[in-house]
């Protein structure tokens, strides 16, 4: 049996569609009920939906053999997993944004508001820039508008929210997309099954392109 953790939401639905198209369907997942786990015993598959930021925890701790998580989550939490495939969906970027008229002249400590403290810390460490992290859990765009921070480090998809709030992208930190991840021990003991799934999913990535 292969346990697969899918991220709840629109991205998860797209990911399941890829699994289904690759031959790893589980019809019960489409039933309208409150079940948490969906099984296709014949194909030896078990799917479950989890909060997107928890997928890597389920995989790292072996509750799921396979999972799909955004690169943002993987960079932030640095789980001990194998990252076997870039699914090419959920594409966006981690970026530094600020008010349009903001210029970082490097004279003082940069105040950075973000949900992704680890990614932000590593990015500015590479640049050798002194900074102060302000860890927020939502509505990050508010921080520079209200003077809480100079810049934000956050995920940018279309940039519409930034534009509407008179903010703009200053730097791209890293491109983001959904990645197929695998538990290390599961990979050792279920190698052939996992390799087959990865190979079949890879074909879906090409089809999507």
């Amino acid at each position: 049996m292969i346990n697969i953790a899918l991220p709840k939401g629109r991205l998860g639905e797209k990911v399941y569609a890829m699994f289904e198209a690759a031959g790893y369907d589980c019809p019960s997942i489409k039933e309208n009920n409150r079940k948490l786990i969906f099984e296709n015993a014949e194909k030896g598959l078990r799917y479950f939906w989890v909060k997107p930021s928890d997928v890597s925890i389920y995989v790292e701790r072996g509750a799921a053999d396979i999972g799909v998580a955004g690169k943002d989550i993987l960079l932030e939490y640095e789980p001990e997993i194998y990252e076997l495939l870039d699914l090419g969906i959920g594409k966006c970027r981690m970026a530094v944004a600020a008010k349009k008229d903001f210029r970082d002249n490097g004279e003082r400590t940069l105040k950075v508001a973000t949900k992704f403290a680890n990614i932000a810390r590593q990015y500015y460490a590479r640049l050798g820039r002194d900074m102060d992290i302000i860890k927020l859990n939502g509505s990050i765009e508010l921080a520079p508008i209200l003077g809480l921070s100079d810049v934000i480090v956050d995920i940018v998809e279309t940039g519409t929210t930034l534009k509407e709030n008179d903010l703009e992208v200053k730097e791209t930190v890293v491109p983001i997309s959904a990645r197929l991840i695998v538990n290390k021990t599961a990979f050792k003991f279920k190698t052939a099954q996992i390799e087959r799934i990865v190979r079949d999913m890879k074909e879906q990535v090409k089809t999507d392109d």
């Binding site: 701790r61 072996g62 870039d86 021990t185 003991f189």
Partner: protein
């Protein structure tokens, strides 16, 4: 006589492993729980976690609760030409757990072979690592890698330190897509990029992997390391666990400390590696020693996750008594039951959470 069914997985393992290591001439190495903090500051990248519990000794010296055993063993030994110090240990270490981010007492057992080591010593360590895993579970995999092969393939692609670090991190994740992106960023040509990406996909049984490496290892440095790896594989092929030993280059230990052969052990049912080891001649140099070393550690605390058959009962017989029960009669009943091999809990009332097979009620009027 020891009833093995009562032993926990880690207790059973300690007993079996001690016998195994003594059989190969490894001597017990007992050490203090404390070490001068300075030792760890100088070698903090070698440690799994650099957060250490410290305290001031009575003379004001900053001390640490040991986060690691290997450094202490190296520090306390000395180089004697031709001589090899072979020791095993069973110690608690104190470090921050990767999963809970809190300090944890971790029971660790392992062995070190320090001195004029050669191919046989490396083979012996890898083979004992496999035997150690086999003593705990039939379902194990020991992954073996050679850092020389990895290092040669990386540096012949691009000598930039930043590239080597980023590429090694992708190899540790078996992440070919980001590796290709990094190669493009650093201007690595298409042939070398393809070779590195192919390298990520190479793992499995020793014979197949060695055959595939023959085509990938073209430089003199890579071929020299491959020659060493092949020599080790030839020896391991004759062991009873040859089919459980795989080659996998995603084991990327810190190349400032480790060199040559490195390995990692996995047990089915435990979500992370339970055994880690390798050759650490570079650490020896950093600590002023001229000889080589190889060793491994087994993290016994992780064995708790191994599924055993759950016991249906806590005790066989619950003996109930009260103030009217003569103590001599109670003692005689308990003696009789335990002599018959039963476990007994003598109580004045039925404990809420106790699961028992039968009750012997000695209370007044029963």
């Amino acid at each position: 006589m020891i009833d093995e069914t009562l032993l926990k997985n880690d207790e059973r393992a300690i007993y079996a492993l001690r016998t195994l290591y003594k059989q190969y001439g490894y001597m017990p190495f007992k050490m203090s729980k404390f070490e001068e903090y300075d030792l760890y500051v100088r070698n903090k990248d070698f440690l799994i976690s650099d957060r250490i519990i410290t305290f001031n000794d009575t003379n004001g010296k900053l001390m640490a609760l040991k986060p690691d055993v290997t450094l202490s063993i190296i520090k306390n030994g000395e180089d004697t030409p031709g001589y090899k110090q072979k020791v095993y240990y069973n110690e608690n270490v104190y470090r921050v757990s990767g999963s809970t981010h809190q300090y944890k007492e971790i029971m660790q057992t392992g062995l070190e072979c320090i001195g004029a080591i050669d191919l046989y010593d490396i083979f012996e360590a890898v083979s004992l690592a496999a035997s150690s895993l086999a003593l705990i579970s039939d379902e194990f995999i020991l992954d073996v890698s050679h850092l020389g092969v990895l290092s040669a393939l990386l540096t012949e692609s691009c000598e930039d330190e930043g590239f080597c670090r980023a590429a090694a991190s992708c190899i540790a994740e078996k992440n070919a897509h980001d590796l290709a992106r990094i190669c493009a960023e650093y201007g690595v040509d298409a042939d070398k990029t393809a070779r590195l990406c192919a390298f990520i996909g190479i793992y499995g049984d020793m014979t197949t992997v060695i055959a595939r490496l023959e085509t990938l290892c073209v430089s003199a440095a890579a071929r020299a390391s491959l020659y060493e790896l092949r020599g080790l594989c030839d020896l391991l092929a004759a062991t009873p666990y040859a089919d459980r030993i795989h080659l996998d280059f995603s084991i990327v230990n810190d190349m400032n400390y480790y060199n040559g052969i490195v390995f990692k052990g996995f047990l089915s049912g435990i979500c992370e590696g339970v055994l880690a080891g390798g050759q650490y001649d570079k650490l020896m140099r950093k600590m002023g020693r001229t000889s080589g070393a190889v060793g491994f550690a087994l993290y016994l605390d992780l064995l708790e996750d191994l599924q055993g058959t759950p016991r249906a009962y806590d005790v066989d017989t619950l003996v109930l008594y009260d103030g009217a029960t003569p103590p001599t009669a109670l003692a005689a009943h308990v003696r009789e039951l335990t002599a018959a091999g039963k476990s007994v809990s003598a109580q004045r009332a039925v404990p809420q959470s106790l699961r028992y097979r039968e009750i012997l009620d000695l209370r007044e009027g029963k």
